[in-house]
Symmetry: C2
Subunit: 365 residues, 2 copies
């Protein structure tokens, strides 16, 4: 296991370098996931000052004990008054003239309050300062994602054995979520999708009252959150004999996924990986019903950079990125097939982190 203190020191050192670009020495971090990433503190309603010198967490009495336990090296400010007041005092104490912030998480209203409360301090928008760190996952993060995958997969294997004809999507989703919790998930990574037949032809179906019937296609898109990190997996199960059309479409999506996974390596562009899957689906004549990207980064959040899509800004894969590979074919009113795994970019190529069965014959319930 990675040494968490060392990891956090390394992340903070990388942040320090990013801040140089903005001629700032410290950054105000307000988003809970970023605070956790840079300190280890997992509570809410707390801000972190990080960069040069000792990091400082501004929190309140509710989280005092937890913060001492989770981030013993961080200076703790337990506020009595407002967050901005407590922050201003610490910023003055450190003599900061410039303070970086993340324009994608700080609201217009909060910046106004910061400007009022931090008179004489220049607030500097440091876009992507933290985002550019979080896009690759260090050893501790990779361990955590592996942990989330292990929990989700154990739960899914148990869930498979519990699926019964006649059960509704809602009930099946509740059962899988419960299995994830029992297997050790602190929460689900996102609202689980359990979609039967025509529901599965919608990329973002919500579990409803539709019931599993013999021959039904059952699409399950799910993930566990463990130690703050998530996974994101999709499998399609078939209740009984696989209809020929379902088998054919499944084969195309499976082949498209294999092609995209094979394309994952350092230096490949996000558009190339997407095209690897898309070309297979297009060649089979279904290009117009695969309307979303082939994948996206995962980490503390379920949708992170990089996006693997023909539309999004192009980028190159780098070692440490973890992406989903999830091509799909949606046949409106009939069914949909999506197969999704989580893939780590390694220095020499890739490693598929998830290992649930996906050969068509093994997907029969």
């Amino acid at each position: 296991m990675a040494d968490m203190r060392k990891m956090i020191a390394r992340r903070t050192a990388r942040l320090r370098k990013e801040l140089w670009k903005h001629r700032a020495t410290m950054m105000l971090v307000t988003s809970p996931v970023d605070v956790a990433y840079l300190s280890g503190f997992t509570g809410d309603d707390s801000w972190l000052l990080a960069g040069s010198g000792r990091s400082c967490l501004v929190t309140d009495f509710r989280y005092q004990e937890q913060a001492r336990r989770e981030c013993p090296r961080v200076k703790l400010v337990v506020r009595k008054g407002s967050m901005v007041e407590a922050l201003a005092k610490e910023v003055r104490r450190r003599g900061l003239k410039r303070l970086a912030f993340d324009p994608e998480t700080v609201t217009v209203g909060l910046r106004r309050r910061l400007r009022t409360g931090l008179k004489g301090v220049r607030l500097v928008a440091a876009a992507q300062a933290i985002g550019s760190l979080r896009i690759t996952k260090d050893e501790a993060e990779q361990d955590a994602i592996r942990g989330a995958v292990a929990v989700a997969e154990e739960a899914f294997r148990r869930f498979r054995r519990l699926v019964r004809i006649g059960t509704t999507e809602q009930r099946l989703a509740a059962e899988l979520d419960h299995q994830m919790r029992l297997a050790g998930a602190e929460a689900t990574a996102f609202p689980t999708i359990v979609a039967i037949d025509a529901s599965a032809s919608m990329p973002h179906a919500r579990p409803g009252g539709r019931r599993l019937r013999p021959g039904s296609v059952l699409l399950v898109d799910f993930g566990a959150k463990v130690a703050g990190y998530v996974c994101d997996l999709t499998r399609v199960l078939v209740a009984g004999k696989i209809p020929p059309r379902v088998r054919r479409i499944y084969g195309i999506v499976h082949e498209a996924q294999a092609a995209a996974i094979a394309a994952v390596r350092p230096g490949a562009t996000t558009v190339q990986v997407d095209a690897a899957a898309r070309d297979v689906i297009k060649a089979a004549g279904y290009g117009d019903v695969f309307q979303h990207g082939t994948g996206h980064g995962i980490g503390r959040e379920v949708h992170e950079a990089p996006a693997l899509s023909p539309r999004e800004p192009r980028g190159r894969l780098r070692p440490g990125m973890v992406v989903t590979i999830e091509p799909a074919i949606y046949l409106a009113g009939r069914f949909g097939i999506r197969i999704e795994d989580d893939v780590l970019v390694t220095p020499t190529g890739h490693e598929v982190l998830s290992g649930l069965e996906k050969r068509a014959d093994r997907m029969v319930l």
Copy 2:
């Protein structure tokens, strides 16, 4: 049941009036809960233009079908390019010169992109334009909160019968969450707190590996989300005979809660309601271990205005507000007692929406 279309028309009319204060006719709504409040659409990644004239939802292909179903009266723009591009086109079509936005949900980065994409349109920060509507709940919203309470209470009653000596907090929390889903919750309202003995002395304890023992105090803070609305309840159970000290503290908190509930009526200040509970706890000598507010508003989110606290800005209760009443006493390292119900402010006083047992003798497992 309330007519949802009528309700949404009424909310939009109220918004229109708020916008007059900012000399704007329409508002850009980007927060998913606000979009749902003003349109009925419950998906993600979509923006609403609302105020004068027909509201317009900017979404993408994933949500097209859902949006048609959920908000048939709203104009639908299914974007191909970016959100800002699609919005700009609609804003130009309507000839808007000013566009209101919520400074508490729009980030600094998003406002920059809006300014670039909406050249010639003045962006106007309309703080509290939507917040001032959502602070009171209309008939449809009250119905929805009642629905959430019913689901949470049914689940809790089942959960009580399943509690066994030796079970961990984590496992108990998973069990209650599962019962809420089976009873009809689309999700939990927030991460359920199940805290045993010393854990219960921390207001924001997270369920851990602590096990229930004979004589244990078991604090359970939970809520269901149903049709987009939440409830927030806390009960304390005791495993076996109630120790005298626990009974005494329970009695004080129970009395404090009754006093605060009795103080809920239109025109009462938030500080008065808080003081009603706090005075009882202070008089018993525990004022210093009740460090948080007596309650907060609930609705689509679990923490909404108004805050019932000595510190927060003072306000007066108005009919339609729904608040939690949750005084507590925390005895560090020993146990904590918190009792929480959800209370509607009525034109003549109040109505307690939740009805779970709370007499000490009925809290024995």
